[in-house]
């Protein structure tokens, strides 16, 4: 019952969003499959605006409501169901909201400053206690208004859920489209975590693969096949400047930044078979990490910077291993299945998300490193490329859809499921970016 009501609410939020701000072609549309069983109820009242109605630069409440609904942890109220639309604390009639069993209320104002900028003030109210939980005033330029809405969502999320919000973050991904001649066009794109503001960083006729964020969010490393075979490139997101950092004989792939941003773990097969190396970005020196005739690939840096998790078939089938960078033998982490690949540490370092394959079915799993317990989080046929949100609450991944690869997300506990569909073409290889640098 709760879920039904919730889903209807979620869909109406999306419809509302579509009506107010029709997504440009190429934008990701986010649909929520299932949320948690007992989401928190919240009403985001339209913010007050003193200027001409048609001059209002943004519908902040729509962006905030959409963010919160998308997390799967909130049930948001439709605008037409609201008993009143207060913009100031003194106008709120808590009784009216209590009758509707609305637990939380957000009110606010958007105003233009004499200098031409904007000022946003908002309050999060506890309806049953009749009190303010948090209130902020934020200055923004017109361009920063959407971002400001995401920051407000972050604040609300953290106050009510107790986890830092990750709405004001970005995702990188690869799209593939076919032109009229049937030629493929591959692009590397980044967008806001809600799919808005997609920007193309690179277009290529040859495949692109494995985008990886630098910890400061300024660079992406990725694999390109533009030079016949794979090479690893580093690209400055702001300037577009790109640098080839690995182009040896054989495979050059699977880049992963160290937490300090100074090193890149990658896979090179220049010595005959795929091995994990660490590339020191200043000075370009290479350090070989694995020594084994099997496939060793997909390294990922532990958040404390001390270890690498990677995929290897040294035991006869692909499994996840962990190696201490100070030396020592790699330790096998997965046992319970014939196929494990593509490990990514959770931001707290306590677990790994990975691809688990069995009987031709590939799903996203989470391995708890404290107790070795494996949970399978998804229920599809062909899932790949899981990537944690920086707050650890969601995992974005690619899955086989009706028209090829599309993106989906699942909460780290497996309870919330979302689909992120691109209007045309395939979208794959998602990588969730870091928190913005303050």
């Amino acid at each position: 019952m709760n879920i039904n009501r919730y889903v209807i609410n979620a869909i109406s939020v999306i419809l509302l969003l579509a009506a107010v701000q029709a997504p440009a072609q190429g934008e990701l549309e986010i649909l929520i499959d299932t949320g948690i069983e007992d989401p928190l109820s919240i009403a985001i009242v339209p913010f007050g605006w003193q200027g001409a109605p048609d001059a209002q630069p943004a519908d902040l409440h729509v962006t905030i409501a959409n963010d919160l609904a998308r997390s799967g942890r909130f049930s948001t109220m439709d605008e037409e169901d609201m008993p009143q639309k207060p913009t100031g604390y003194g106008q709120v009639n808590f009784k009216d909201w209590q009758l509707l069993q609305m637990e939380n209320l957000v009110i606010g104002n958007l105003a233009q400053t004499p200098a031409g900028g904007f000022e946003i003030e908002f309050r999060l109210l506890d309806v049953y206690k009749g009190s303010q939980l948090v209130g902020f005033r934020i200055a923004a330029t017109q361009k920063q208004l959407r971002q400001t809405a995401h920051r407000i969502s972050d604040i609300i999320f953290e106050k009510l859920i107790g986890i830092r919000g990750a709405f004001n973050t970005r995702i990188a991904y690869i799209t593939v489209r076919k032109n009229a001649e049937g030629e493929e066009l591959h692009t590397l794109q980044i967008a806001d975590a809600d799919g808005f503001n997609p920007r193309t960083l690179l277009e290529a006729k040859e495949p692109l693969l494995s985008p990886a964020w630098s910890p400061d969010g300024r660079h992406l490393a990725y694999v390109s096949f533009e030079e016949r075979g794979s090479s690893v490139f580093l690209q400055d997101i702001r300037t577009g400047q790109r640098e080839k950092v690995a182009s040896h004989d054989g495979i050059n792939s699977a880049p992963s930044f160290s937490p300090d941003g100074r090193r890149l773990a990658l896979t090179l097969s220049k010595e005959g078979d795929p091995e994990i190396f660490v590339l020191h970005l200043s000075g370009n020196s290479l350090q070989r990490i694995t020594r084994n005739r099997a496939i060793d690939t997909e390294p990922n840096w532990s958040p404390d910077g001390k270890k690498l998790a990677f995929t290897s078939d040294r035991g006869g089938s692909p499994q996840i291993y962990e190696v201490d960078l100070r030396g020592g033998k790699p330790k096998r982490l997965t046992f319970d299945g014939p196929y494990f690949a593509r490990p990514r540490y959770s931001p707290d370092g306590r677990g790994l998300t990975l691809v688990h394959g069995n009987n031709g079915i590939y799903r996203i799993g989470y391995l708890d490193l404290q107790n070795q317990y494996l949970s399978i989080l998804t229920n599809n046929r062909l899932d790949e490329s899981p990537s944690f949100s920086p707050n650890g609450s969601m995992i974005i991944y690619a899955t086989a859809g009706r028209d090829g690869s599309e993106l989906a997300a699942v909460s780290a506990d497996g309870s919330v499921h979302q689909r992120l569909a691109l209007q045309d073409g395939e979208v794959r290889e998602p990588a969730w970016g870091p928190f913005p640098v303050q």
Binding site: L209, A254, S269, I295, T297, G360, A400
Partner: protein, 182 residues
């Protein structure tokens, strides 16, 4: 038929090896060898009579190419397929690999690329490694059978360049492959 062509190819390779001193590509020795092979398989490739008289590089290239393009020739097998997560060469492709090895041995001036591919299942990076492993397995076999390592380049595209677009067993079987690109 196939066995005969194979024998002729093999003889051609022998003739080539005996009849000339090995030299680098682009010189007369290479042309001689090609024309010798073409003369032997005259019935299969009627155009090669001319080649036997001419020593121009262009004609030699044409002759070699015609051999590669003859659909009845085992060299026309340019794709071999693999089992899931495996780089073991399946016995049905041994003959074709032998033909390519002999051809490369007989034509040391010719270089080719082995492109390794995987199906879409599992992780893309692991599949990139798997594609390379398949290409290297074929390279190893070609070298054992007489090709020179310098004639062969390997490149892996993993699952990024599927031959078949579907998402079923049939498509996957067509995508787990190594392509011989001359």
């Amino acid at each position: 038929m196939i066995a005969r062509i194979f024998l002729i190819l093999f003889l051609g390779a022998l003739l080539g090896a005996c009849g000339t001193t090995p030299k680098k590509s682009g010189d007369v020795a290479v042309e001689d060898r090609s024309t010798a092979i073409d003369a032997d398989i005259d019935t299969d490739t009627p155009d090669t009579g001319e080649g036997a008289q001419s020593f121009g590089m262009e004609d030699a290239e044409t002759a070699t190419l015609s051999q590669l393009e003859d659909p009845a020739n085992l060299l026309s097998v340019r794709i071999i397929y693999f089992d899931y997560d495996s780089n073991a060469i399946l016995p049905q492709f041994n003959e074709a690999i032998q033909a390519h090895a002999s051809f490369l041995q007989a034509n040391p001036g010719i270089a080719m690329t082995l492109e390794g591919h995987a199906d879409e299942r599992g992780s893309r990076e692991y599949n990139l490694a798997l594609g390379e492993r398949r290409a290297l397995a074929v390279e190893k076999q070609l070298v054992i059978l007489g090709a020179a390592p310098a004639q062969i380049r390997t490149v892996s595209y993993g699952e990024e360049r599927p031959a078949a677009d579907g998402h079923d067993q049939e498509a996957w079987a067509l995508n787990r492959r190594v392509e011989f690109v001359y």
